[in-house]
Structure formats: C-alpha cells, structure tokens
C-alpha cells in the first residue's frame, strides 16, 4: 500500500468533484506526469467517469501524460521576451535539440516548452531550465547550456 498514488488519494477522504484539480495537481507533482492508472484511480475515488477526469486534465496546459525529461527547458514567449528575441532563441533550440516545443528528445534528456510569461519582463528574454532562470539569454549561450546539461546526465 505504499504506492504514492494511494497515499495521495488517502489525503482526500470522502471528497467531491471540486477537489479534482488539487488531487490531479498533487499526483502530477509527485509523479511528474499523469499516468493512465492514476486517471482511472482518481475517477474511481471520486465516482466520476474516467472520461470526465481525462477531459478536465487535458483542458489545462499544466498536465503532462508522459514521463518527464531530465531537463525541461522552458522558453518564455511573453510579450516582453518576444520583443527581445525569444522567437530566435526558440528556433535555435529547435535546431540544436531537433525537437519542437512540447516534445521530448528520444533519449529523454530534454524537453522543450514554450511558456506564456514567467513574470520577469524587466529581465527578458528568459530561459528556464528545470526551474532555474537564465536572464538576458542570448542565442550564443545555447550550445554551452546544452553541453553542460548533457555532461550532467552522463
């Protein structure tokens, strides 16, 4: 019974539909993604059809349905970052990693994401790698960053 999934479900006894999102968020935080099993278990727990649970989960950008990569590279494409050249940075990342935003590299090391705004517009453009922000990022830094990450995994 030491399954993290069961542990989380236990924290929400006798719960109703309005706790669906917090429940999914907790599972997502602990597993890194929402597995098929977790969707089914949540729907049983809340006595909801699993299609409804899946429907709610897919509505939101935050949830992923496949395991997470080692490094999640998030590139801010907010207004301010866009003006300071985030599109170019995104293009270069796409070329370097050979994936598109929302995809993970085959080896599972990198995932590329485009995020609306990280809220530090005064310091744009911003690239976030696993939650750590790089401000005033430039295209020239990409090669070094990718190399450093690869070394870190090896």
């Amino acid at each position: 019974m030491d399954n993290p999934l069961d542990r989380i479900l236990k924290q929400y006894p006798n719960t109703r539909r309005d706790n669906l999102l917090p429940l999914l968020q907790d599972i997502h935080d602990s597993l890194g993604y929402l597995s098929e099993e977790s969707i089914i278990k949540v729907s049983q727990h809340l006595s909801l059809p699993s299609s409804k649970v899946y429907g709610v989960a897919t509505f939101f950008d935050q949830f992923h349905f496949e395991p997470q990569a080692h490094f999640v590279i998030r590139i801010c494409s907010g207004t301010s970052c866009h003006l300071s050249g985030s599109a170019e940075i995104m293009d270069e990342f796409k070329k370097t990693l050979n994936i598109r935003p929302g995809q993970t590299t085959r080896d599972g090391v990198f995932r590329l994401e485009e995020v609306p705004c990280l809220g530090a517009c005064g310091l744009s453009p911003i690239v976030e790698v696993n939650g750590e922000s790089h401000t005033g990022f430039s295209v020239q830094q990409i090669a070094d960053l990718v190399e450093a990450c690869k070394e870190n995994v090896a």
Binding site: H82, L83, G122
Partner: protein, 649 residues
C-alpha cells in the same frame, strides 16, 4: 525565518493593538510598534528584495552571501527579506538601515559583490555608484547627496495606495503589517458596520473592478448580499495569465496580508464564510507567502471561527490554477474550482446571484480587494477625491517594453499615458521613436502616439476604442512591427481559446492564418496564392467583427481587438506588408531584403556556397550580389559573412 512568535509579543499585538478601538497605546506598546516599523533600531538592518523578479536576477545568492557575511564576522545585524518595490531594472536590490540613519537602497548587488559592499557600508562609506535612493523618515538622519525615494522620477509621479508597503515590509511576518495599522480596517468593520452599511461605503467610494471591465465593486457586493442563500462565496481572481503582467503577483509577494484583509472585508460584506484565492501554480513564491500569511492570520484569530468575538467566521482556501488563459473569466474560473473544464457559461445569471456550486459568489481581482482596506481605513470620501470624475483611485500597471525604466507602477487615475512613458518610464531606450502603447495584454488594444494625451480612466480609454485591461502596458518603439505584434497575440489567443464558441475557436485560427500569409514571402507571384492573400486581407476586418459580436465570454469578445486596433491606427503597415512586401521595422524575417556592400565584400564565396537557393552570384575575389527575386530571406548569408558586408534593408 521566525514562523512562530513568542506569546507575550503576540498577546500585546492582539490585546493592545488590534483590540484597542481608540488607538491610545501605552509606552511599552508604542516602543514595540516603533521597533517593528523600524523607526528605532538598535542594530543594523539589511533588507534584500526577494520578489520573483529579484530572485530571477539573483537575489537568493545575494541573500545567502549577506547571511554568511553576518555570521562569519558575528555581526549583530538583522537580515530581512522584503517584496518587490517595483523597480525591476535595479534588481537585486539591497537596502541597509544603520541605527539613526536613513534606510538606503542599492541596486544590482550581486552575490560576489556583497563582501566588499558590506565592508564599505558598515564603515559608513557609501558606494555612490550603487546607491539609488534613501527613504524619508523624520527620525533618521539622511545621507548626504543621495536623493530621497520620492524624488526619483520613477517614484515621484506615482501615487502608491495599494503598493505603499510593498518592498517596505517583510511579507512573511504579520507583525510588520499590524505595526503599520494592518487589519485595523477589518476589525473596525466587523465591530461597527453592518454588511449593508459596508456595501454602501464601498459604493460611495466608487471603487471599480480592476480586472479590466470596471464594474462597480459595491454594486456587485450588494447584489450578492441581497440574494438569499445559506452559503455564499468570495473568490479572489489572482489568475494573472496575461503575458507581461505581474501586478497581482507583486501584491501577493510583497504584501499578502493586505490582500487577505481585503478578502476578509469583502466576505463580511456579503456574509460569506468561505473564500478562495485562485492563482497561478507557477507563482510558487506568492503561493508560499499567501499560505504563510493565512496561517499567521489564523494564529492571531483574524481568520477562523468567531473572529474577535464578532460571530463572523471565515476560512480562506488557495486554489492553484492549472494554466489556462480563459480561466481569468469569472464563470470559467468558477467551473474550474468546481472541478470541471474551465469553460465560460452565459450570463445572466451573474455569479453574484448564482455562482460557485450554484450559490451567490463575488469574484474580485487582487488589486480591487487590496484597495478595500485603505478605503475603509481612510473613508470613502478620501478615496473619492483621488482620480477622475468617473474613475476613482489609482491603477497598477506593469510597465514593460522599450522604456528605460521598466517595472511595477501605480498611478493616479487621470495621469496621461505620455506622462507614464516620459516621466515614470524615463523615455524610450536608445533614443528611439515611440510607436505605440499596447494596453491590456493579448486581448487588449494598441494606442497610437496621437492619443497619448489620453488619461488613464475607464471612459477616456473607451473613447479611443481601448479597454483599461488588467494592467499590462507594453511600450513599442520604431523597431516593433505592428503586424507581427497582432500575429503574436492571435497566436496566443488561438491556443488559449477554450473551444466552446465556433467564432472564437475557428475565427482566431483563420485570423492567425491570414496574418501568417501577409508576413510570409510568397513562393511565386502569380495565380491562386496571391488571390488568396488579397481575399484574406479583405475579409480580416469582417472576420474580426464577427468574432467580437458573436462570442460568449470576455475572451472571445475582445479576442480580435489587437487586430482591429492595429488595423485602425496602423493600416499603412498592413498595406506595406501586403503591397510592397516590406517590413520597415525588419521584424518579419521573411520580408527582409538583403544586400551586399560592394566595398566590404572580399569575394570569399562563403555566402554563395551557403545560400540554400543559389540566390548569390559572383566570382572569387570579386564582390557578390544577391538576386532579390530568388532570395527567400533566410538570413544565412548575414550570419556567415565574416566581414559584415551583408546588410538588411
């Protein structure tokens, strides 16, 4: 960080300060409050600005370095973290207050500079390059030759009501807030006012919702109060998903207690016992500080059951948004809290009659609620005197884009847009020409320079076809392309449209497609493609109007406004893109024309070899030329040229 307070300390604050209607304190209490306000200090205090923007700039490293410096030298000094003062360009900001001297702010103190910096300041030497400003305080001796904070142009033209304590107090400690008259308004309310009277006070103040629409807050509250129900709810809409806006986040990080007090007062006004704060999951620091603040308020008996023996109960729960732009719309937000897909539903019934779980619910923006304690504290007439005829109070903006000083600002309603750019923003960076102001995020609209004398006021902005919006203000200069801007926003909306109404779901997709077409270099000039392009442009305006008129929620209704407003004011740019295939600003990559400077070109052949379409001709050691008709505008020649001979026009 001290999370729990010693009981005596807490007792004094509860019994002597909060439970004391006539505010006559004994010496003991006065001393405590004065110390908490840092009016009188017996040891140096160092404040590190740790808002999200500061943290991103490196404030965590600075904070740790200061901590290490103090403990390594066993200096008796207090180290505090404060929220964001709003001056983003100067982060990380460190402020130092020596006993008897004014608190002084230093900009861009990075971790590796801390040792040297603190050595200097503790020996009373000022690093004048880093010093920005000092705080005005009658008890403190000012530093010579350093301007006061209110003398800096960035601050001098602002009027800070909501933000007055952001960056000043420690957001993680309730006693700092109480020492500055915090929660007094709430206690006054539950002791002396009926819900009815409270609603009329807010109505009298003419406070209008700051989320964008400008609906009178008091009217909304009264409507919920009048609806009979066993349960009612207050929802604080802090789902700030407009890219480029960070007003709500700064309030939650800089002064979370202010927001909680506002929510508590609103809950009392409609007799609700449960409130939700709905905010972005990305705002980890804000979430942490809010949770901490709610916990502290509970310990002080300001939340929970039978608050200060008034019989009023209130619990506040934080709900994390899972990231969807449309959830800023109140009905969509409500269905998200209920655990459904965040899709809007038709109004009426308005949420104030039938909202969350079918019960009367008021949904207010963070900024609106943060205004409330000040209104109750100073009275509605005081608030009434600030601002314009129809728009009272102040408005927060996150000022970004091409101005010199970016950051979080709060201005009195009625301040002209020109003043915001010139006086607060310090003009345009690199002496460029300003082109436009974009207000209100992706669903906002653009204002051209000829209307920059428009004051910040709901009605005046409506006259130039603009909504106030939630407070994102982006300044564009001559290097920005308006078509690209519109395309960028349509791309955002097309992804964020929830898909319920067809005009919004399909229409925004088509608008984006048309704009893509305009900004793309045509593969060939003749035939079908050209016709399609012209047809598309002709239909653009009609399409935009259909989306605006037939969508259900605020997102759809305002979705085409970036296109409509740029087409209205910057039609020549659209025409330039369509007819001349030129982007003057050089933003639309595919429309760039490349030329080779014959004087600089050495004839090395690199560009000719790299050109994917063989558009560059020339023989070895002779200047090369680009055939414009063949060029696809990829820009590779520009990147590979070692002699800077390739230029864009």
């Amino acid at each position: 960080m001290e999370k729990t307070l010693s009981d005596t300390y807490k007792d004094i604050l509860i019994n002597e300060v909060l439970n004391n209607p006539d505010k006559k304190f004994n010496d003991n209490t006065n001393n405590l409050l004065s110390a908490l306000r840092r009016d009188t200090i017996d040891r140096p205090v160092i404040f590190v600005g740790k808002g999200s923007c500061g943290v991103i700039a490196g404030a965590n490293g600075t904070y740790d370095a200061v901590k290490e410096y103090i403990s390594a030298r066993s200096i008796n000094a207090e180290l505090l973290e404060v929220g964001c003062g709003g001056f983003c360009a100067a982060e990380p900001v460190v402020e130092v207050q020596l006993p008897g001297r004014s608190r002084i702010a230093f900009q861009q103190v990075m971790a590796d500079q801390v040792d040297h910096f603190l050595d200097q300041i503790f020996n009373n030497i000022l690093d004048r390059e880093k010093a920005v400003a000092q705080y005005r305080n009658q008890y403190h001796e000012p530093w010579e030759g350093i301007p006061f904070l209110d003398e800096l142009p960035f601050f001098a033209h602002q009027k800070r009501i909501v933000l007055d304590q952001c960056g000043l107090i420690n957001p993680e400690r309730i006693e700092d807030y109480i020492a500055r008259e915090g929660y007094q308004a709430f206690i006054k309310t539950i002791r002396n006012y009926t819900a009815e009277y409270l609603c009329s006070l807010v109505e009298e103040s003419q406070l209008r919702g700051r989320g964008g629409g400008g609906f009178p807050a008091g009217k909304k509250w009264r409507s919920a109060l009048k609806t009979a129900s066993d349960k009612k709810y207050v929802i604080c809409n802090a789902d700030e998903s407009d890219p480029g806006a960070f007003m709500d986040r700064s309030i939650m990080e800089g002064n979370p207690h202010r927001l909680i007090e506002g929510i508590a007062i609103a809950a009392y006004a409609i007799d609700a016992s449960k409130a939700y704060i709905y905010t972005k999951a990305e705002y980890s620091l804000a979430l942490y500080r809010l949770e901490n603040a709610i916990q502290q308020a509970k310990e002080f008996g300001l939340l929970g059951e039978d608050i200060f023996e008034s019989g009023f109960n209130l619990n506040i729960e934080i709900r994390k948004s899972a990231g969807a732009f449309v959830c800023g719309e109140e009905t969509a937000l409500i269905s998200t809290i209920e655990g459904r897909r965040g899709m809007p539903s038709p109004k009426p019934p308005y949420p104030s009659e039938k909202g969350l779980f079918g019960k009367p619910t008021i949904v207010n923006n963070v900024e609106t609620l943060a205004n409330v304690p000040a209104i109750i504290h100073n009275g509605p007439q005081w608030f009434n005197r600030i601002g314009t005829e129809t728009s009272k109070g102040t408005k927060l903006f996150s000022l970004t884009g091409k101005v010199k000083h970016t950051g979080l600002i709060e201005v009195e309603m009625g301040t002209s847009l020109q003043d915001i750019i010139d006086k607060i923003g310090g003009g345009i960076r690199n002496d460029k020409e300003v082109k436009a102001i974009h207000l209100g995020g992706p669903t906002g609209s653009t204002i051209p320079p000829q209307h920059f004398d428009t004051p910040v006021c709901f009605e005046a902005l409506k006259k130039v076809n603009t909504l106030m919006g939630s407070g994102g203000m982006v300044i564009l200069d001559e290097d920005s392309c308006m078509v690209d801007m519109a395309k960028f926003f349509m791309d955002f909306i097309r992804k964020e449209s929830c898909g319920k109404c067809i005009p919004c779901r399909e229409g925004t997709l088509r608008i984006h497609e048309i704009l893509e077409n305009i900004t793309r270099r045509p593969e060939h000039e003749s035939g079908h493609q050209t016709l399609e392009r012209f047809k598309g442009v002709m239909q653009l305006e009609g399409l935009a109007e259909v989306i605006r008129d037939t969508s259900l929620c605020g997102l759809g209704k305002t979705a085409p406004s970036p296109v409509l407003s740029t087409m209205k004011w910057f039609r020549h740019e659209y025409e330039e893109h369509i007819f001349d295939r030129k982007c003057k600003a050089g933003v639309c990559k595919q429309l760039r024309s490349f030329y080779i400077d014959v004087d600089k070109c050495t004839g090395c052949m690199i560009c000719a070899k790299k050109c994917p379409v063989n558009a560059i001709i020339g023989s070895e050691k002779k200047p090369h030329f680009i055939i414009d008709e063949k060029c696809i505008g990829c820009g590779i020649c520009l990147d590979v040229c070692k002699f800077n001979a390739v230029y864009v026009k």
